[in-house]
Structure formats: structure tokens, C-alpha cells
Symmetry: D3
Subunit: 237 residues, 6 copies
């Protein structure tokens, strides 16, 4: 039995509110249950030095938790003077996941930065961030195309992410914080609409897992991402 | 004529939404027009080293802007590895302003940290932060008192803050970004309900100002803070 | 009664020694009683990137206390690896104050950096720094003009600063350290010769203050700055 | 055809030289072909603060590349003043992988740090580091047991890691640098002797991959890890 | 011929002004010609962690140049966020040199920090700092002894330092900046009154030097330090 | 009697293994007994900004100890976020020593960085680093000349370094860790083949030393460096 009473393959409510802030070219507040992440997409025509003059663009991401997004207050990374390993690992994952569905040549010499700021955390912040970032990116690219700055759509498809895990011996979908903090295994899948995999990460936190469990988690993730793809489609309609 | 069409002594709409996030002991989303600041109050029983064992508490604040709270994306301070002078100046002001209405002895050995994160900026972020922080603090202290951890109310009154400035020769109340970026003088007042002043800061950005202008700005600030005190009272009812 | 035996409107002795060091384009050792600040003005033809090619110059300031300028030794900021919020707040104030009397277009593409290093502290270090910085700036600009590098005088007037405060219920001028550390309110005024105000900052440290007190402090500050303007005039004769 | 001429399921030569340095409790130079990593295991009786007094130990890892381990010189992280996101991600993975085979209660209040320094890089540095770290850990724990400081063996089994990827459409085992830099998908598996999985990470660098490819990569990884388990067994005999 | 017209074995004027600042337990402004260094000795009863509870004290030093102590403005180390290698090398040398004449057991559990801040630089700042630091230390220790906090004099003798170098083929004493910046060899000697050597450092900047030159430089240094020992004796009388 | 049983003028075994790593233009593993340093020479055509366009090159060095090169594990400098004063002092010395035998004009616009990483430490790491760096530099320059990128040999001679010290009253050559940690005086000499001195540093750790001891140490150093010059010659044959 899951603490939330959900079935093993039951996700939390997904909500996507576009236009949550007004300055960014794309802006989304995405919720997976009580996990809420504000994602903005910022378009700049200044590329990182190693990409200049190649006729290509870049998509990158930054991630942060507000200090009191969590049960107890965490120290602010700007005050500590450095980003934790966890933060850096997550923001690298987000950037990589989005680039999996962008043709950087078609984007042209623009950099789009996806800022993912967790306002409230209850498990699954990185997967909500990736799923919301796709929407923010889609909105920003639509704007570039409407303004005639980008001719051909550089986005090749939808990407979404979801966590799953082995909780008290059972593979379950979309872990909340309580499950996440005591799961035996904890996985994040980044999937492309149509069935392909952009990234699979499955970590044993307690006992190691076997191939069958990995496959079962992947199947749960497919179910979850299908729900997210539908919500993304609704959000950008 | 103000760009927004407001009268010289007209404020933007104030909105205060309590309970915006669920983990913090106090949580508020405050808006002054398009400026929106999320303030959380976090109670901890671990004091800074220099205050331990004195039977007193501490109230402090941290401030940050999300990178794309503004018209163009600013670099994330956590990524830069340090907080700007502006950030530090503002968070010192917020902490000082709130301590002006707290009896630290009555608070007892608790530290309350007010995290002020600007989700969207359109001028006046520090004054919205101070005004919202009072509400978050009030909620957190109410909780401490309801739980019997604090016996006597340590909050001695309300505190609010508002910006004013000299815009195209005219003193005006509650500057938005367009006004703020071209004002001749720019002032922030932190006032205590009842008429006293906790902090006055008035800076000439263009031409210096005279005593009469300073007094006129102070009077505008009194009008503005009265509106905020009423909104604070509503919010914590 | 003030600890020093001074009258409420009595300043400490002001001394300004020009040419204290030989390399800088302008150099001053300014004393307000036992507070002693070494200010140098350094002229460079390399502007910050955001100002290049606009035909304008820049005036900026840096501030530091020697570790043992104070009663007990403070940690050296270079050893800690960062400047405190207080340091940054003060150096921003100094730069802003000096720019209030400089026409950056007339200065042309030079940057003048005012380094304010407190050799000994006894209250009022930031106001001594501003007052001394004007002299160092004046000397450096005189040199630029004498060398024909600047055609028209970019300095539009004198600027000086002084602290005042409410000490044991009485508004007093030019706080020393003992007064400063127990004042109810603590103000710093930056005034332009002729009566205008460049910056007013008045902070309640204990009880909040009222409008009358603010005005009384401003009047004391006018008296103090008149004395400083005279000393500045003598120093650059 | 692989650039090295290897078959798809052919690993590079594995070499493990124990006792490469003399001070560490465990020390290993491990080579996967031209990739060479020096791993030392250091035992300390000082635990991180959050673990003290719980009767448990800790196993952690640090990772670094010498500046010229690679084709072109990289900037030294100590000179830059921070560790890259990649470094932090890898050292977190190494620590987690080793803890998967350690019973921290049986280890008792010791911390073992696995320092993995890449002397020469040719792809697969993180997997060589994990595989070598197990040997260094085994040696250090043997020493603790021989000295009577640890009573019961805290190591529950062997752990090894290997990279695989999809190179020019074909799943291949143990990528070298040339393959790694142009692979369509790049995976790292951390396996426990006996068949269980501690960590699976598979990233699409070019085209996304499907479930079948994931399973094929996992099977290649099993073959590779069996070879490494044998080499580890030889090394600690 | 030396640029200053001095003879090869002629020093610049030495001046030592004690009590230059009032808060420190010992305070000295020392000049070697135009090189001026403010040295303060601060006594604290808080020792570094690794020395606590051993019944011994510690003597350490910090060194800094004011940004415009030199011909062109250098970046402030507190603003850069780190001390240069040169700064660290010099402050380690100063600390080591002073400890050469202190019996740390007799000092008892006090730490004395010698802050050496260069107000104006014209070559030889580190040697002026060491020579002045001895005076500041002597004054601080005298104070500790007068207050009965230290029973027996922990200072075992005088220490002084002087630079010499090979300038245009000739060994010369007490290099000024012009000589220093074009010398073939540049040496610093730290000598103990009575003839022993605490530290010798001789660096070839241009052509390497031979044993005879090293001995000649050492003899010049003896002459210079004898002059400094006399000035130190005068200063603390 | 020396702990190792060596005679006062007896060095430890010197071993120089060239080509220890494959990517660097020059690569050497040098051992002085149990002290082992990996030195790589990296050639880049990107010069530091202050040298560009002058038709000259640059030779610089970086130094680091692996965390467990020593008896007890030291904190990794990359993790601490800064290099220690000792590290910076040593790498400045290495760079200076090598530049003493390079004609930077003949080198042309190349920068050669000598990375000296101590794999195992037993005293004398900086002198082994300098002696090995010469070999790595020689190999890298040979490569540049063979490729026709440098026309005339910019290396003017051999440079080597050795430590000596006063151990239990006796001057001895090539201190190992046990001797080094209890020596009365500790010296490092950098000598040029043919007899000239590039750098002499002699520090009293316990009792100060006299001129005779300094000369005796220098003579020991000559004997030691002659051995190293021979080993260098063999290594690059």
C-alpha cells in the first residue's frame, strides 16, 4: 500500500499553467501533485564562446530549489557560494534531455536557457522540471517562429520525464517524497513521444535490483509519460 | 503623466495570498502590481553562534531574484558563486526592518529566516518583500504561540515598506520599473503602524533633491503604507 | 551628555592631509577625530565593458577596513575570500555619492577609482570616506585637466557626508564609536554644497523615530557638512 | 567496424596493480586499455558530522583528472577554484556504487575515502574508477580486519562497472575515447557479482534508443563485468 | 651607478613610528625610503584549533598591499576573492621569521597576528614588514608582560630583514622599485641579531649568479640589518 | 646517523621514466627514493593575455599533491576551492626555475605548462618536480623542433634542484620525510649545469644557522645536482 493510497501505476495530478510570469519568452508552472516547479525559457542571441560562428544554437538549463521548498530549510546555494553536486547533476540532465528533441542547426544562433526553480518539493522535481521545460521551450520557439527569427521548427518531438521506483518490494510510478526517501530503487526515465528513450537512470538505494525490475519500471514510465505528453499537448494548444 | 496612467499618489493593486507553499511555518505570495515576491518564514531552534545561550531569538532575511524575473535574464547568483552587493544590501534591510517590530527576548531561542524570492519584478521588489515578510512572520509566530513554544507575542506592531520617487519633476508613489529606471530620486521608506519610521533611504539618481521633496516623499509613503497595513491585517485575519 | 563631552551639534576635529601617498593621481588622509581613512584616486583609461565606446567616463569606489582598525581584530576580507554585505553597501554608497557631482560626459573615457581604506575606526568611516574621496577626486581631475586630457571641468560641485543619530533621546552630530554602538537611530546624509541632498539614510536601531527627528538630524547634517565643505576647500587650495 | 578493430563484445586489456603507492591503506593502479586510474583507499576514524555517534561508518569517493590526462590540457580544478558538474556527478556515482556492497554498521565508525585520480584517459574513466575502487576498498578493509579494528567483514560482495554504447548503429562493449565521442548512446552499468544491478545509466547522445537496445547494452555489460570480477579476484588473492 | 645615486652599500632612510594606530596592542609605521608599511600586532586568546590545549602560543602574519600602493592600481584581493600566490608566500615568510625569535611555550596560550599593510610601495615591502613586525610584536609582548599575562619574556632576540641584489653587475643593498624590476638577482635575508641567519632566499631574475655573489649579498645584508637592529632598539626604548 | 642509514652526502636512488603518459608533448615519472612525481609538459599556442603579440613564449608550472600522497590524507584542493599558500609558492618556484634556462624569444609564441603531480611523497617533492620538469620540457621542445615549429633550441642548459638541511647538527643531502620534519634548517637549491645558482632558499626551522652552514649546504647541493644532471642526460638520450 502506498502512503498516498495511490495504485502502483497511478500518477499524481499533473497541472501545467502557462504564462505564469510575463517577461520570459516561455513560462510555465508545472505541478506533479505537491511538487511545483516554475520553468522559464529565455532566448538570447549571445552564444557560449565555443559555439559562436557555427550557425547553430544551444539549449541549456539551470535548476534550483528555493530554500524552503522542502520540509526543513536548506542553505541557499547563492549564500554558500556554490551549487551542490546534486544541483549540477540535475541541470545537466535537464539540458541534455531537451537537446534530445531540438535540431540545433534549425534553431540558428540563439541560446535558450531553461530556468527550473522548485517552489515546492514533494519528490520528482527533476522530472517535473524536464516535462515543464519542454512546454516553456515550445512557447519560446513558437515566439521565435512567429517573429520570423527561426524559419523551420527546430523541435523534433515531445520529451517528458517521470520517476518510478521499487517501494516495499513493488514497482510504483511517480514517487512522492515519502516513497522516494525509503525506496529500494529509484529511477528516472526521459522518454520521447513515440516510444524511444533519451535517458534511463536507475539506482539501487537499498538492495540492488534485477533486469526484470528495470523493465517493469520502464513500462510504468511509459504509462506516466503518455499522460504527460497529453498534458503538454493541452498546455500549448 | 505616469506611464501607467496612475495618479501621483496612486498605488498599484496589492494582493497577498497566504499559504502559497505548504512546508514553511509562514508563506505568502505578495504582489504590488506585476511585482510578485514569494516570502517564506522558516523557524529553526538553531541560533547563530554569537546568539546562543542568551535567551534571545533572531530574525533574519535572504533575498533573491529568479534569473528571469526581469526583462532580460540575469546570471544566477548560485552559478556565479556570490551574491551581488545589491542582494546583500536588500537582505540586510529586510532583516533590520522586521527586527524593528520584534522583541527578540519574547521570541526566545528561535531563529526565523524570511526567504524573499522575487518571481516577477516590476519595481519595488524590496518593499514588497518587507511588506510580505511581516505577514509570513506573523503566521509563523502565530504557529509558535499556538504550539505553546512562545508564551507572549513578540511582535510589537506592523511594519510595511513602499518606494516613492521624483519622476519627471513630480513626487510619485510606488514606482514601477519604467519609472524607477528614469527617476531623478528614488526613495524607500519602512514605516511602523502608528506613524514612526524604521528606515528612510532617499537617493538622488539624477539631480539632487531638497528637504521639501524628502518630506513630500515621506508623506506619500505614509499613504502607501496605510494601504499596506490594511492589506496585511486582512491577510492574517 | 555625550561620552566625549561634545555639545549635541559639535563635530570632531576634521583634518585633511593631501599627498599622503605618492603614486596615486589624488591621495588624501582624512580624519574625523580618531577615524582615519586613506583615500586614493586612480585614473585609468580602461573602462568597464558596459561603458566602452560611449564617450563617457565612470567613477567608482572600493572600501575596506584594515583588520585591526577596530577595537578587536576583524578577519581580513581577502583571506575570507569575500567582501561582507556591509563593505559592499558602503562602497556602492561612496561611488553613487561622488557620481552625484560628476558630469561623466565631460570626464570622457576615463575611469576613476576611489580606494577608501580605513586605517583607524572610531565611527563615521563611510562619511569620512565620502568627504575625503571628493578631495582625492578633485586632485586627480585637476591633474587630468593640467595634462590637457580633460578639457572642461567635469566636477559640478562639492559633496560631503556626515553621520548623526539619536543618542539617549537627543539628536547629535558626528557619532563616535561609543555613541554609534548604542544610538537609537543612526543616519548618514550625503549633501551637495548649496543645500541639496544626494542621499539620506536613517535607520532605527532601537526605537523607531518620527518625522521631526528626521528633520532635526538633517539640520545637524547641514551644519556638519558646511564645516567639511570648508575643510575640503582649504585642502585643495 | 570499431576503430580499435575489437569485436563488438570485446573488452580492452584489464590490468590491476595493487600497492602502487605505499601510504594508503589500499592502493591500486587500474587500466582499461590506455585508461589508467590511480585509486587509493584512506581509512580515517573521523566521520562526517551527520554520522557521528550512530555506530556506523561511511564510504565516499573523490574523482579528478590530471590536467593532461586527456588529448588537450584541461584547466586544473584546484586552480579554477571549483569542481565541475561532471566531476561531482562522477564522484557521487562512485561513492554510491561502493556503498551498494558495504554494510556500514559492520564497518563501524570509520570513514573510507576512495580517491580516484585519472593519470591517463581514453574513455571509461568512471567505470575503471569504480572497478578499481572495489579492490582498494577490499585491501583497506582486509587491513582493518587484520588489525582487529573491524570484527566482521562489512563487504557483502563485488561491484564492478563498465561502459557500453551504440556506435554506428551497433551496441558495443567498453567504449574507448574515439567511440565515446561519437556514440549515439552511451551507457554505464554498475553490477553486483551474481547478476543484480546497482546502477544503470543510459543516455542518448545522438538518436534516442529503444528498449531492445537498452537490454542488449545490459547484456554486454554483464559480459564485461564478469571479466572485471575475475580480475578483481586475482588482484586481491 | 644606482638610479637613486646611493652607494652600493647604502641603505635608504629607515623611520619607525610607533603607536601609529591606537587600538592594536602594538602598532608601527615603518619606512624604508618611500616604502611604507603599517604593522599592527593583535593579541587574542583564541588559538588555531591544532594548537589548543598544548600550553603554547602562536605568532602569525597577514600581508596586503593597498590597491594603489604601487605605480598602477592593482585589483583588490578582497574583490577578486582570493589572495595571490605572492601575498601568501610573503605572509608565510613573515610569520616564520618572527617565530624564529619567539619561544612559543613562554608566550603561553595567546595568538599574536601581525597585520602588515603596505600603504606605499617602492621595493622591499616584505623586508620592511618583517623589520616593523618585530617592533609591533615587542610592544605587544611588553603590554602582555606589564599586565602580568606573560611571566617570562618569550622574545629571544631581534630579527630584521633586508633585500639586496645584483644590479647591472654590481651587488647592491636595499633595492628600490626601479632596481628591483631590472635586477639580475634579487635576494632577501632575514637575520637574527648576533649574526645567525633565519632565512636566505636568492633568486636569479636574469642571469644566474655564483657562490661569490651569494656571499657578497649576505655581507651587504649583514650591514643593512645592523642598521635596522639599531633603529628597532631606538623605537622600543 | 640518518634514519635511512645513508651517508651525509648520499642521495636516494634517482629514477626517470619518460613517456609515462601518452597525450602530453613531454611526460616523465621521476623518483627520488619513495618520492614520485608525474610531470607532463603541455604545449599550447594560446599565450596569457599580457604576453600576446610580443613574439615571445612562456613557461609556467602547476603543482599538486594527490590527497593520499602523504602519510595521512590531505583535503583535495579542488574540493576546498583553493590552492594553499604552500602549493602556490612551489609552483611559482618551479616556473621560475625552468624559465632560468629558456630563451623565451627563441621559443616563440608557445606556452608550455609543466604539470607536476605528486603521486607519492617522502620529502623533496618540489626538487624532484623541478628536476623532472626539465626532462619533460626538453622532450616537448624536441618535438616542437622536430615538427619545425621552433627553429633554434630555446633551452640554454640543464637545471636541477635538490634539498639539503641540517639534521641533528649535521648538514645532509636530499632529506627524506623523517629528516625534513625534524631538521633544524631546510634548504632548496636550484642549480644550472656548470655551477651557477638559479635559486637558493634556506630556512631555519629550529635554531638559526650560520654562513658556514649555508656554504656547506650549497656544496652538498652541487654534488646532488651533478648526479641529477647525469640522470637527466641519460633520460633524454
Amino acid at each position: 500500500m502506498r502512503p498516498s493510497g495511490r495504485a502502483a501505476d497511478e500518477m499524481r495530478t499533473i497541472a501545467i499553467e502557462t504564462g505564469f510570469t510575463k517577461h520570459a519568452e516561455g513560462s510555465v508552472l508545472i505541478s506533479f501533485g505537491d511538487t511545483r516547479v516554475l520553468v522559464t525559457a529565455s532566448v538570447e542571441d549571445r552564444l557560449p564562446p565555443w559555439l559562436r560562428g557555427k550557425g547553430e544554437g544551444w539549449v541549456t538549463a539551470e535548476y534550483s530549489m528555493l530554500p524552503r521548498a522542502t520540509h526543513t530549510r536548506g542553505q541557499r546555494e547563492a549564500a554558500k557560494g556554490k551549487q551542490s553536486g546534486r544541483t549540477q547533476e540535475i541541470q545537466r540532465l535537464i539540458g541534455r534531455s531537451l537537446r534530445a528533441v531540438v535540431d540545433l542547426k534549425k534553431l540558428g544562433e540563439f541560446q535558450i536557457t531553461l530556468d527550473c526553480d522548485v517552489l515546492q518539493a514533494d519528490g520528482g522535481t527533476r522530472t517535473a522540471a524536464i516535462s515543464g521545460a519542454w512546454v516553456a521551450l515550445r512557447l519560446a520557439v513558437n515566439k521565435l517562429m512567429a517573429e520570423g527569427k527561426v524559419a523551420e521548427d527546430p523541435i523534433t518531438g515531445r520529451v517528458a520525464a517521470i520517476s518510478c521506483g521499487v517501494y516495499q518490494g513493488t514497482p510504483v510510478l511517480d514517487l512522492d517524497y515519502i516513497e522516494d526517501s525509503s525506496a529500494d530503487a529509484d529511477a528516472n526515465f526521459v522518454l520521447i513521444e513515440g516510444g524511444k528513450i533519451a535517458e534511463a537512470q536507475a539506482t539501487a538505494e537499498g538492495a540492488p535490483y534485477d533486469e526484470e525490475a528495470l523493465l517493469r519500471l520502464l513500462r510504468l514510465a511509459r504509462m506516466g509519460c503518455d499522460r504527460i505528453f497529453a498534458a503538454q499537448a493541452d498546455a500549448v494548444k
